[in-house]
Every structure is written in structure tokens, then in C-alpha cells.
Symmetry: C2
Subunit: 613 residues, 2 copies
Amino acid sequence: MTDANRNKLKIDFEPIGKRVMVAPGTCLLEAARQAGLMLNSTCGGIGKCGQCRLTVIDGEVSDPTRDERALLGASALAAGERLACHTRAYSGVKVNVPATSLVGKQRLQLNGEDDSLAPDPKVKFYSVCVPPPTLEDTRSDLERIAPVYILQKDKGGYTADPAVLRQFSPLARANDWIVDVFVRDDEIIGAAPSDVTPLGVAVDLGTTKIAAVLVDLKSGEELAVAGAANPQIAYGEDVISRLTYARQHDDGAEILGGSVRNTLDNLLKQLAEQIQAERQQIVDICVVGNTAMTHLLLGLPTSQLSVSPYVAATHLPMDIKARDLGMHAAPGAYVHVLPGIGGFVGADHVAMIMASRLDRANDIALGIDIGTNTEIVLVNPKNRTYICASCASGPAFEGAHIGDGMRASSGAIESVTISPDGIQLKTIDDAPAIGLCGSGIVDVLAELIGCNALSKVGRLGDSNKYIRKGANGLEFLLAAGSRSGSGRDVVISQKDISQIQLAKGAIRAGLETLLAVADTPAEKVAEVVVAGAFGAFLDIRNAFRIGLLPHLPNARYSQVGNAALVGAKRAVLSTLERERAVNIAKRATHLELSTYPNFNRLFALGMQFPEDE
Amino acid sequence: MTDANRNKLKIDFEPIGKRVMVAPGTCLLEAARQAGLMLNSTCGGIGKCGQCRLTVIDGEVSDPTRDERALLGASALAAGERLACHTRAYSGVKVNVPATSLVGKQRLQLNGEDDSLAPDPKVKFYSVCVPPPTLEDTRSDLERIAPVYILQKDKGGYTADPAVLRQFSPLARANDWIVDVFVRDDEIIGAAPSDVTPLGVAVDLGTTKIAAVLVDLKSGEELAVAGAANPQIAYGEDVISRLTYARQHDDGAEILGGSVRNTLDNLLKQLAEQIQAERQQIVDICVVGNTAMTHLLLGLPTSQLSVSPYVAATHLPMDIKARDLGMHAAPGAYVHVLPGIGGFVGADHVAMIMASRLDRANDIALGIDIGTNTEIVLVNPKNRTYICASCASGPAFEGAHIGDGMRASSGAIESVTISPDGIQLKTIDDAPAIGLCGSGIVDVLAELIGCNALSKVGRLGDSNKYIRKGANGLEFLLAAGSRSGSGRDVVISQKDISQIQLAKGAIRAGLETLLAVADTPAEKVAEVVVAGAFGAFLDIRNAFRIGLLPHLPNARYSQVGNAALVGAKRAVLSTLERERAVNIAKRATHLELSTYPNFNRLFALGMQFPEDE
């Protein structure tokens, strides 16, 4: 045993056969990480999501916690089931990791219309090599280095804040005054020994999911991606319930904002670790999200946003020091939040319009970013206006509120065909089915309509042999427990269908309202961009069959994935793209859907299912 | 008894005859404040300065603390003496307040060359009156109000930070969208109901004393002044010992910086209370101080400043949010620190040069700002250069390290004449003598030289009848206890004289070195400006007699008081004056005195006393 491993404990992960040595008291989630084994943990390891479960076969571990008792139940605990995040090793331990706990290759949509882009980042980099101070030359540290980039840029003023100078003064002395400095406008925001790669991070702060990408600001290359669940889910699944929580609790806004700031800081940590970089190399961060998300993140006031007429404190771009948001990066690094549009239509929608080039469309175009909050834009290139609206579609298409719903990861049913011969399922990674992700849900409903098993108002019939009476009324059996990855039946219930009707009704009504308000006939729409992780895998034909999308006879469809994240990435790479975002936000007007007299009728109609073609 | 006074305790202050009702447990310093009685308390009420002593005649109070036992001693405590700041009333109490504990009218030098100035503050004020939001007009709060001043100023971008928007959004709604906003460059830094007076604060952050003035930014009028001891004194009396403390203790810099930030916040509170203003009306703050003082205030790194070659992290002007310095003002208000020059010659010297118009001198001029750190400038209008140096003169001229030294307040001996008939003393407020302030110390030495009682090397002779053997060697009796305000003899000792020699030697050597380095003969100097609270009351003739100042045959002398504070005030009132400060700092060069080969010899010579004329 080497010195480094003295006193360390051996942890064996079965059936994969990975082994790692850890210090006593290490939690098994961390041990798995060190073994290169990624366990599901959308709650970030706080014992809330229940996804990191495993079975302790042998060895001494910590006692079950209250969270584990609540999530796993007595019988599972008795069988040795535990949450990896809440279980600490006190001796060598052998555990069994079920496939359901292992992270499949997660779909973080980054493809789509990501044109190549010459990096032109807001933060510039200068190599500094100056003589050290002497009693004859007592210029201050900042004045000593500033001429190097001042001359390069012909700038007048320059500054740095105390935190940056606290880093810089010892760094310069430790490196013989040969260092790289990172400069944003006229402000030095960080420094590093020479030839360190400056990094940027783009974040799409979704109501349900958070996605982040790490880029090389010199080459524009994408270096790492990471994702997490939005921890605010514990305080409400949609933006209105979260804002209500914030309004009704003295420290509500601080709790919600603090939780997401903490998650973002963890994502920065994960990204840096993936490429073994120092966090001080992260010199710029761009964040997009809907209005509620960015307001809670920045600690902007939300009382006025939570009640009619739902007014933002600001929709202008914001620049806040990362450290003021609890995020560890270069000491003076800023978080740039892109501008928003109006109401809940925020920076993520601007980023989506930018990434999907809707601002450069030549014909009338619709953009739809489907998520827990769905944003829609109708672009008219003639008068260069964008009309935007937000629909409270809820998280059903992201798998939430659906009994066997799940996110798009290994074992999720992503497409379904029902034929007289039976049911054909396609799952992610071709793993045994565990549940349904959004695209699978749409497919099931379309196929049920196709075989006349689902009525116009959304009732399951009993004509199909896979429809049976379940605990929550009628349900359609997709995969029996004997074949599934979880050992349980995978079904879609009448209750699930009602959830989907609410979601699709809201989106459809939003689309119809925008077309009506802009006096645009359906045949004039030439292009439809469907964004969002769900939208990327959506079978567009089935989206028509269930009535999620209206019939637009002349439209081309494109599915662009997480365009909001692509837009954020463009903004972190390019000052010009930030200006483009400002111009998009300026040209866009927000329509509060409820002010349209016909909206409620359109919503009711939108909940119905059409007759199949 | 009214309801408000139920359960309150009656505190009587004798012999003044003031009475106040306070809550049980209130400390007597606070009770005195509420009675409108200002007790001396340069430590800010933490039991360190011993200046708020009084005698409890009757009533139940808290037990003596360790600080009181250390400062007052057992016999004084037995006689009922207490520190007001450490004594809490538990019943009605009657106390006797000696005159020595009462604040005399303190000299905060604000006169001098304070030319009238048309206010042109960095922070502008706009009256806003806009329609409230509706479902049809959901522009964000910031976009709703911005056009009002954007149009007035033709500005492109505008912003506000989250703290400002947290104030603004509810304020606008509570005032029907009729409010005043305070704007700095393109940033809203605060808001108020309409017609509130915007206030600015200027601060001279001295090594020993802190002085602050509150101004009306619209009229330029001075509204209030306040002062306090620099609490860092507890960690060292001069800048080097404080920087050493910061270097040798992990949290040393934070302790030193935190203490002075806390004191500045208290001064803001006092200033606002004096005119019954809200602290949110304070929209701008300008601070000057030497390099060590501003570095500790802002939390800039000081390790490199504390060792040769004594290099600042920055001498450029700094703008830091007041809240980041723990100062309560308008939510987005900044603290502006004026630029410094080099080494320890900082923003206070720039402010002094500006206030005393040395940058506009037509002939060769010397400026001397005497304090714990003494800064000197030699101005040559021919080539428009300023050569500056800093002398570690110590706090002797501010009354510290002198047995009976005291600050310039009631009862301080400020001038002395010794004649064959006896000793004539002039004290501040003509109160019975308690001790000596700086100008009195200079006078005593000059008069002792005049009557041949003090040798060239600084030894007291025994030829004078008032010279006697004391506890610390020979001493000169100025006022016997029977006549003094403290009941104790007031003397100046051989040890005190040695302290003064060190101080005057440092200043004199600095002056001689500057003249030598600039190759400027004494007769070429046309003007001498003496700044600082001490300098204001200095008898210039006696300054020559003790050899503090060199003989400059053609020089006019002016005494300008606390010119650094006046300069800070000009900067808070005027953007142009801030630019002027930057220009002064750019033209000034710093001379490290120790690099001059002859410096040590000049220092030794400077400690000597000249023969009297």
C-alpha cells in the first residue's frame, strides 16, 4: 500500500467492477465520481431526487438519514438499498449499482443552428512583461501593467477592483512580472501565469433544467458540458408558484435565488474539473433564462412580477460580478444576463431567436421554445417586428406530472408505434424501458388517436387490449414489468393525458392568438422553428396528430434543440452577438395572452384532440 | 407618566442639570446623547479611550467591566467613577459629569482656501412622472422610467443594480410613479419620493483622526460636520506598524479595514441624524487618505506596501459601491477614492494640493500637510511638475506620545508665552488647562529656547524655576494641579521633547531633501502652504524658532487648515474637480526620501534646535 493510500478504504462498485480508494467518511456518490462512475443525481446530492440509489452488499456505512427513510421506505432500506449521496463509508464497502442509477449519455441539446463564429469575446487578454518596482520606480502595480494594454488599445481610463488586485499583486511578484491579464472594457477582471487558456461559460437557466457549456474564449472551441435540475423545483414546479413562494415568505426570494446560485457555482466547478482547469480561468459567464429565473438569480424584486400585470424590474441586459452571485471564477469576472422582452418572455427567448436566426428570416416565421414555460415568437421580416408571448405549459412535456414520466436519458421511451401486431418502443440507448420522455408521450397519444383509443375530449376508450383499469382510472400499458428496466409496469394513465391536454392547450392557444393578433393567416407562415430539448426529438407529424401544432400548409419545420444555450454560448464568445441580442430585444414586443378576448376559447379548443387524418 | 415613558428610567446629569428618560439597560453614553449632551468618546464607545468618565452619585448600574478596571483603577472605581460607555442604568440614576468629559466645540478645520464652486456633481437628479404599468403596457420598471432622463441626457445605455431595483420597484408603486431618481453616468443608483435633497459626504481619512462633512449636492451648501478617532490606532499609531499588523495576522487587514469601515458608517449615521435626513439620501461619497489608509479601507492588498520599495496596488481613482464597504447610503451609491501619487503619498495630498490651489501657483511653492504622516510637495509652475514625499513624523504634533498631550479641544493649551513675570497660557474655550495640543507644544519649546532653558540637542536645563525633576526625568511645569482642569499638574517632560525632535527632524529633513533634489535654492520659494488641523493653529514664527521649518527668506506663508477635507468636498460637489485631481496626480512624482544619499544626515541635523534669534 502506498503512503497516499494508507488509511484509505477500498470501495467496489458492482456489477461494473470499478474500484476506488477513498478517505474514511467519504460519501458513496463522491466515491463513484472518483471511480469515474457518473450516478444520476439531479438534486446535486442533497437526498431529494432519489436517483442515486444503490445497494450496499458488504461493509460498514453510516446509518440511513431521514431523507433516505422518506424516499426509500423501510423495506428497501432493510434490503440494503441506500442513496449514494447520503451514505458514508466507514470500512471497505462493496455496493451494487443498478443500471437505472447510472447516467446514460444525457441529451444536452447543443446542435442546431450553431453557425461558426469568430470569437470576439467581451473579455480581452494581454500578455504583460514589465520590470519589477524599485525604490526609484514606485509606480503602483496597476499603473505598472496598464500601459501594456492601454497602448495596445489606446484606452484612457482603466481600473480593477480590490478583489482583483488582491489576486494580482502577489501573482505578479510570484511570476517575475510576466503574467496574462484579462480586461473587460477598461477594467482588469483577473490575471494568470502566462499562456493559460481563458474560459467562458454559457448557461441556460431553465425552470426545470439547467444546462451549461464551457468554451475556450480564444478558439471558440467547446470544452465541456454539464447539467443539473433546477433546485427551485422543491418550491414549485412553475414560475408562478415559485414567485408566490417568494412573495409569501420573508426570505423566500433569497432561498430560491440562493439555491440556484449554488447550483450554478457547482456547475462551474464540474465544468472546470472536467478539463482540469482552475476556476480563476473562467473570465466570463453568460446566462439566459425566462424573466422569473433571471430575476430570482440576480435577486431582482419579484413582487410586482408575481401579480398582474406581471411587470419585470428590468428587461435590460445586466452585468453583475460573479462573486456577488456566489460563483467562483476569475476574481473580477462578470455574469452577463442577456436582455429580455416583456412579461415572462426573457433572455432565453432572445437567445433562441438569435441562435435559430429568426431575426434574419426572410419570410414570416414562428419560433416555439417548449419547456415548463413555453415561449412563442411570430417574426415578420417586412416590418422587422417580433411579437412574443409566454404560455404556462407546465413541465408535462419534460416528463413531470406524468406517472411514468422521466427526462430524456437512458431507458426513456422516446418513440412509440402501435400497430395491430403490438407496440413498438424505441428507448434511449436501447436500454430496457424505464419511463416516458416528452417525445414518447406525444407518440403514444398520436398512436392512441390513430387506433381510435382516444376521444376528442381526451378519454381513453376500452377498445384496445392494452388499455386496462389502473389505480388512477384507465391506463395504457406500454411495457410490462417483466420487460421493463425498473421491474415495474410502464403505463400512461387518464390522469397523465389530462396533464398533456393542459400543456398542449396552452401552447396551441398561444400560437393561434399570436397569428390572430398579428392578422396573419396560417398559409403565410413560411418557417417554424421548434426549440427545446423536448422539441429536438419531437415527431413533428405526431405533434400535428395530437393538435399541439396548428396546420400551417406552407411551413418548413426545423428542430434546433437547446437554441437558448447556443445563443448564450454565442454571446459569451462574441461582443457583436451581445449587441445583436440587444437589437432583438428592442424590436420585440410582448403580448400578454390574457388580454386577447378570444384566448380562453382558444385554450379550450386547444385541449381537444383532432380526428386522425 | 405618559405611556411612552412607562417602565422608563430617569437619568439626571449633574452639574449641568439635564434629564432624560431611557429604557432599562441603556448605557449612560447613549443616555447622554439622548439628553443632547455630547461626551468625549474618540474610541466610539468601546471602552478604550477613557474620555467619557463620569461619577455615579445615586442609583443602580451595571458592574464595572474589565476595561473600566484597567482604565480607571480600583480607587477611582471605589469613588464611583465609571466610563459612560460601559455603564448601564438599571434604575433611575444621578451622575456627575466632569467638564473634561464634555465635548468642547471641536476644531474641524474646514476653512481655508475653499473657493466657491458651482455644484456639478457626478450624481445627477431627475424627476420622473410616468403612467403605471397595465396588461397592455408591460414595459419593465427600468425601461418605464429611463426615457425620462435618457431624453434629457441623450444617453444610450442605462442600468441599475439589483439592490437599487429592490428599492425602486416598491417605491415607484407607493408613490404613484412620481419619484426622483439619482443617476451616475448610465446607472441609476437610488430613488426617493420627489423633492428630497440629494446629499454627498466628503471624508478625510487620517491616520489619527477622521473628519467628514455632509453637503447638499444641489446648492453646494455644507449641512453638517462630524469627526472620530481612527479606530486603527489600537493596532499601531503609524501606518507602518498597522501594515505590519496586517501582514503578520491572517485576518489583520480585514480587522483594520473593517474597523475603519464601521467608523465611516457611524459618521454617515451621525451626519444624517444631525439634519434628520434619511441615509438613502446620501448618493455620493468622496474619501481621501494616505495610501495605507485608502488601501486598508478598500481591502486592497498591503503586503507589498508594507515592505521596501513600498508599492501601492493602485494609485488610480477607485469607485466602489458604498454597501461593499459596509456603508449605508443610497442602495447603489459609490464611494469615490481620489487618485494617489506614489508610496504613501495618497489621495489626501492630491486633495490638499487642489484645495490650496498649489496646482495653480505662479511661483515655486511648498505645501506641507502635517499629520501622523506628513506629506510635502514642491511645486514648480515652470515645468508644471510636483515632487512629493512622505515623512513618518508620527502623531506627536497631534498630542499623542506626549505625556500631557491632547487633541485640540476645550481645555487644550494652544499657545504659551514665557516671560520673566511667569507663564501665560491660552487654552481653547479659555477653559482650565487640561493638556497641550500641537500648537501649544511648539510654543513651549520655542519659549524654552528663548529663555535658554533648552539646548541645541534638546536637553532641558535646570536654570528655569518651573523646571523640576519628575517621574520621567526633568520636566517643565505649565499649570499646577490647583489651577488645571484635571486637578493634575500639566507638564512637558524631557521624554516629550525627544518625541517632538523625532517628528520635527523627519519633516525638516523631508523639506530639505525636496529642495536639494529639485536643485531649488531656499530663496526661490515664493509660497508655503501649511495644511492640517495642527498647522492651522501653529505659530509660524515659533515653527522657525524650533527649527521645524527652514528659513525661506522670500516666502509668503498661509495656513489652510484641513485642506484635504476641503479637497474631498470639492470632489464630491464637482465632476470637474475630480478630473482636476486626476491631472494633479498625473503630474506629480513621488520621491522616496531614503533614496537620497544625504537624507540621514539631514534628519540628524533636523532634530537639533537652532539658536534663538
